[in-house]
Amino acid sequence: MAIAKVLGIETEYGISGGPDLEPIASSSIIVNAYAHHGRTRINWDFQGETPDLDARGLPGLTSFAPIIETHLANTVLTNGARLYVDHAHPEYSSPECRTPWEATLYDLAGEEVMRRALVIANESLALEDAISLYKNNSDGKGNSYGTHENFLVGREVDFSDIIRAMVPHFVSRQIIVGAGKVGAETDHGLHSDPFFQLSQRAEFFEEVVGLETTLKRPIINTRDEPHSDAERFRRLHVIIGDANLSPYATFVKLGSTALLLAMLEDEGTENFPSPPRHPVHAVRAFSLDPSLRAVEICEDNKWRSAWDIQDQLWTAASEYVRRRGGEAVAPDAEVALILEQWREMLDGVRDDIRTVADRVDWVAKFRVVSGMQERHDLSPHDAKLRAIDLQYHDLSPQRSLARRVGLRTLQSDEEVREALHNPPTSTRAYFRGQCVARYPEQIVAANWDSVVFDLGEGPLQRVPMMDPLRGTAALTEDLLKVCPTADDLLEALDR
């Protein structure tokens, strides 16, 4: 039986401006602005973070392990999310969510956190020092930063099966969930000199499988850092996605991936299409071809386009749902919506892209970029077209182009506001968020799998949360209600 696909998205936002034009300092201003203004300013606890462990069980001898920076601004929000400075970007890591719909909502809440931080920060800065934030993944000059999805997977699934099953999806899903890009920025990308690509990220991928995230980026990342009971769980860390501005794209990206992982857990690799023989070539070639005609030779010696692969994956996933239901991923109605939208987007990009310009980011961007090129008779390399690309992702409502292109909304503003402050109820994020909201003075640190209290006397007390599906409202709401102080809570937990 597939385990619940607990999931979430971490997003590093692009940043410009600030008093020193120094991205780490500007990122700290953003995080601190929200932390000071918000109800809490709790440090993130790094115990249990082991990003250098490799899921294949091999020591990462040939690769550099990522470094954790402990001295930068870092905080936990009442909605259970983490807000911090990662490298030279402000990053929002959503709380653990129970369904793709919920994870999409908390991704939108992350945008709203950043927008509010921006307003607070810029109020105290001179006009010429104002900061701007971008929900994108590259600067157009060869520098990329990530939007990573995380999915809970049973430990018993063999990692080689994850590779076998998921490579076809990760190289091809960009045809519906790519965020689009004008031009190229890596040596091989520039060699092709494309007018427009489907994906922000594709050209940065150089390996099929690997531990790294900043160099030689792999299609399948092997970082084995479950943030939970490692005997029972994996956290599949997916680094090959684009940051989406379209909520429907985020929803289908998460939903399709979660359904395929559930199918893998329940039925093995049997029903997955044959992967391209050269996955790195495939992911780049598919990105470079908005006509969707490019084909790749697959392991079974058949040639397939990205669309063919997606079509097979959709069929496999919908048959899996018919056989077994999709309850590991979401309630029936939500699973039906995932399959419906996945299908509509696929048919749309094949038959008439205009019909999905309200849901597929690359189509929305492409429509504006090509329309503007035609209107002003611009060269394909005109800076104006690159400016449109960049400004599509600008978070400021006054400048954002994504806000103007008519993207369909999935959730109301009110639902997003609610998610800004309150945690999801069906995962341990509920307990984390509630503790931060109720006992801010007594919490010295928190991380994904524990909350650490300082009651003033005696040693610090760590409350472990090794199971992402415990610490839910159903399990802890009554307890929290009768514990007005952290002392009461710890005493009750001790009993």
Binding site: T214, R354, A383
Partner: protein, 64 residues
């Protein structure tokens, strides 16, 4: 009203006429075109004026 604003206004009006003045399915394409024209008008208004400098100055450190 500057020359540019006047042209803009004409364009918007033209687009509006095109979008209201259509018989149902024969002119679906025209309608989409008119909508796109309106959208491009709006984007022309909010797009960074100095695109070259805007794009050049956007430099990020890698992340992840």
């Amino acid at each position: 009203m500057t020359e540019q604003e006047r042209i803009q206004k004409q364009r918007t009006e033209r687009a509006r006429e095109a979008s209201t003045d259509v018989s149902v399915d024969a002119t679906k394409g025209d309608q989409l075109k008119a909508e796109l024209d309106d959208l491009l008008d709006e984007i022309d208004e909010v797009l960074e004026e100095n695109a070259e400098e805007f794009v050049r100055n956007y430099v990020q450190k890698g992340g992840e």
